[in-house]
């Protein structure tokens, strides 16, 4: 995780532990400050590339009982929405640490309809991929394609390539957040 900088290498274990500790203390509320404008730009660009109606970052709360939406493109109204870690496909991606891509989401019993009902939407297709920083899984990045009603025709759906792009987005954001956490650590402790 730590770049093989000769100056840092002998301290890498210590730095990694400190980074892991700092990551574990990140709450959903203070997460948005870690991705900043550059992270937000990436999310917007990728959402358009994969033709998603919405793209969200979910972070597990400190007690690891819930996933909380900390960032959404394009509509920030979803921020703060939470879902139990035993519920829904995002939780499945978190628990299994595997990316998933489904294009008939409504048919999956594991899909939580609570979110759809609350937001008055119908999720037709979804990608959910694990999101790591500080050397451990911390949440999930999801994107969805919606349709206006259950009877409406399904949208085009996502491809394996879309899933790869979301996975790569997750990797880039991981590096960005690790970097910013390290900066915090350096300012505070080193």
């Amino acid at each position: 995780m730590i770049a093989p900088d000769p100056f840092l290498s002998e301290h890498s274990a210590v730095v990694e532990k400190a980074l892991a500790r700092a990551a574990a203390e990140v709450t959903p509320d203070d997460f948005s400050g870690l991705i900043g404008d550059s992270g937000g730009s990436m999310l917007r660009a990728i959402r358009e590339v994969v033709a998603a109606d919405s793209l969200s970052i979910w972070i597990a709360d400190v007690a690891e009982t819930q996933l909380v939406v900390t960032h959404t493109e394009p509509d920030p109204g979803f921020v703060g929405w939470s879902q139990s870690l035993g519920e829904g496909l995002t939780s499945l991606a978190y628990a299994s640490e595997q990316s998933l891509c489904e294009n008939k989401v409504a048919l999956n019993a594991a899909h939580s309809k609570r979110t759809d009902d609350a937001l008055g939407q119908v999720t037709a297709a979804m990608i959910a991929t694990p999101f790591y920083f500080g050397g451990a899984i911390q949440g999930v990045i999801s994107c969805v394609q919606l349709k206006p009603s259950p009877d409406a025709p399904d949208p085009a759906g996502f491809s394996a390539r879309s899933m790869n792009r979301i996975r790569r987005l997750s990797s880039v954001l991981e590096q960005l957040v690790n970097y910013r956490l390290l900066i915090r650590l350096f300012e505070m402790e080193l």
């Binding site: 628990a95 299994s96 998933l100 891509c101 489904e102 048919l107 491809s159 394996a160």
Partner: protein, 268 residues
Amino acid sequence: MTTSPTGSRCSGWPSLDEAREASRVGTGAGVRVAVIDSGVEARHPRLASLRIRDSVRFEENGGSVIAIENEGHDAYGHGTAVAGILHEIAPDAEVGSFRVIDARSVSRTHLICAGVREAIHRGYHILNCSFGCRGLAKFILPHKEWADEAWLRGVHIVAACGNTDSREAEWPSHFASVIGVDLAETTSESLFFRRDHLVGFSARGENVEVAWLGGGVQQQTGTSFATPRVSGAIARILSVYPGIPPAMMHTILSSLSEPWHPGLSSDR
């Protein structure tokens, strides 16, 4: 005994042309495939003619693992999807449901090891592993031990790589003795082979309509659904040439597959 292109099951090793013919006419008869997964919904309409030989659930009990017979029904849907694809490709193969993955699609290393070992000891010829464990060093030995045991006993292991990057190490797909399978962006039913790549095989796995929990169907994308296509192809060949060992099957299958090309990759 199953029928071969010449009307009987063959005891020797095939030429490439004979193997190709076996992959065309073989049905999987006489071959046992263990689906190491979330279970199999035996009553699913798409599996009506599937012969399920074993249905076992593995769970932790006070620090040890216990096997519960006739409890291998599906916890999630994933194993039913895998069994359904396998059944399409090799309709006469017998399937064993070894349930080691829970309703959240999560497993533990010792559950997987117990499930796989049980399948090996019950005489299964192919282990379909549509799962992967993150490629951390601490997981190598437990998984390598059972992969080696399978190799020594002539049991074929077919395993999915991760959904998003076949180069990212996962166990068991990155063991050289295992037939690792990636997803190919194609609607073709062919298998593809890529030399100089640990996960050498790929097959269709994008937007596949699969059997799912509750008698329903799903549209899924993932390496998990490419893997049973390769297991099914092996079952077809084994049903005609049952004595082919894993190393030879790797060579045969790679020769019968179409060459991989970058257009099949989702990593672009």
